[in-house]
């Protein structure tokens, strides 16, 4: 078994961004792997850039963290200079500048999502290479391969907030079931005119898919049992 603990930290990942009637829902799994070892089973891949714009990170953990740190800094300055909250389009553009100009060195795919008062809820996908594509929904990461057909069939215009979140959770959960590099918990972030809501769905509470088994009683329970009771004479 080739563990290779020196391999760069990558987020195998499934990341999703979906627009709905009034805002956006971002979703991601929580697995960060180093080679074949899960380095962090509860990572948070949905990072805040501003009060109203978040980004889903995939690919190299180091590259995506550094890019989002720089863009957060630039957006902070931009907000001060502009005098009002930055738009989602500007955030996406700043990410794209870094991703495109450093395309030889970086290996990270990002999905920018947020809400602003001019355009409402918007999702921008920025895959490897630095293209920017404005989409009604975007998927990324290694687990996204298993979701293209699912979204073609399941996504529709003008969903409600609840429908959109259910769709995202279902999709991430399906990808986790099939992709070895995705796992852990499902995190979602809902952004609309009222603000931001973070949700958390533990892995063992997700719906079971084809051939998935119920979780068995853990043998670890004997550790907490307290030992056998001594015989009484």
């Amino acid at each position: 078994m080739d563990l290779n603990l020196d391999a760069p930290h990558s987020m195998g990942t499934t990341i999703i961004g979906v627009t709905y009637n009034g805002g956006v829902v971002l979703g991601a799994d929580s697995r960060t792997s180093t080679g074949m070892y899960v380095a962090n089973r509860a990572s948070d891949k949905i990072t805040q850039l501003t009060d109203n714009v978040y980004v889903c990170r995939s690919g190299s953990a180091a590259d995506s963290q550094v890019v989002s740190d720089y863009v957060r800094y630039f957006l902070h300055q931009h907000t001060i200079q502009l005098g009002q909250p930055a738009t989602v389009k500007v955030s996406a553009n700043l990410i794209r500048m870094l991703a495109y100009n450093n395309k030889n060195m970086l290996q990270t795919g990002l999905i920018v999502g947020g809400w602003d008062k001019y355009e409402g809820g918007k999702i921008y996908g920025i895959p490897l290479g630095g293209t920017v594509v404005e989409q009604p929904f975007a998927i990324g990461g290694s687990g996204s391969s298993y979701l293209y057909g699912f979204f073609d069939q399941a996504w529709k215009e003008g969903m409600t907030k609840e429908e959109a979140e259910q769709l995202v959770v279902k999709a991430v959960s399906l990808a986790i079931a099939r992709d070895g590099a995705s796992g852990g918990v499902v995190r979602t972030v809902i952004i609309n005119s009222e603000g931001v809501t973070r949700n958390f769905y533990p892995g063992d509470k997700l719906q079971l898919w084809h051939e998935e088994l119920e979780p068995q009683n853990s043998l670890l329970d004997i550790l907490n049992a307290g030992g056998p009771v001594p015989m009484a004479m």
Binding site: P8, A39, S60, A61, A62, Q65, V66
Partner: protein, 273 residues
Amino acid sequence: MSQSAVDVPPKGGFSFDLCKRNDMLIQKGLKAPSFLKTGTTIVGLIFKDGVILGADTRATEGPIVADKNCEKIHYMAPNIYCCGAGTAADTEAVTDMVSSQLRLHRYQTGRDSRVITGLTLLKKHLFSYQGHVSAALVLGGVDITGPHLHTIYPHGSTDTLPFATMGSGSLAAMSVFEAKYKEGLTRDEGIKLVAEAICSGIFNDLGSGSNVDICVITKGNKEYLRNYMEPNPRTYVSSKGYSFSKKTEVLLTKITPLMERVEITEVGEAMEE
């Protein structure tokens, strides 16, 4: 023959001057010395009142144990310590450097250092070297915002966790944590768990061994328990003592302590115009 009179200071970054020489030597058959790596098991966990860091004490050079009792828990600030795994020189150098930077920052701001500051400085440095500085770190401390524990990987990515392990023995130690960790551990429970995790690395990983070092950091206080546990004592020591053969002569040892030469200068008269 003209020589430039002024030496231009190097611009910084790597200097590749000796690469050609090294290539030539390797071609001639010279084997380069291997790096001194700390095989290592390092761990950290957050307990009720703060952070506990733990490490083993074996430093390896290939298959040989180079140092049986090295220190892997490095000082960063009075309230922040950092365990290091990977190439020993890299972990020492990078923790020393950031420790100095934190001190300068304390002087400038007039405040105690925060763990996140150390994290950002380390992450920036490691990322700019693209993973060639082989330092995998567990950074822990308690600052004004509370207890924090972070892991930093050689490529510059970081994670923030309630319990973490790094190094070649990380899998052995993580299995102990995953089985027994819970939130709100007391100091004694936490120390016991950390010691257990490090022992698991010491006994099951070839790159880790010797003793257990522990560092407990709480608000306003830190305890560095060097060699908290020594589960690998030297078992056989000859009771008869060691005899030296007849030809060996023990010379007289004369130790002359160096005395400080203190010259007291009389305070002279101040110069007057």
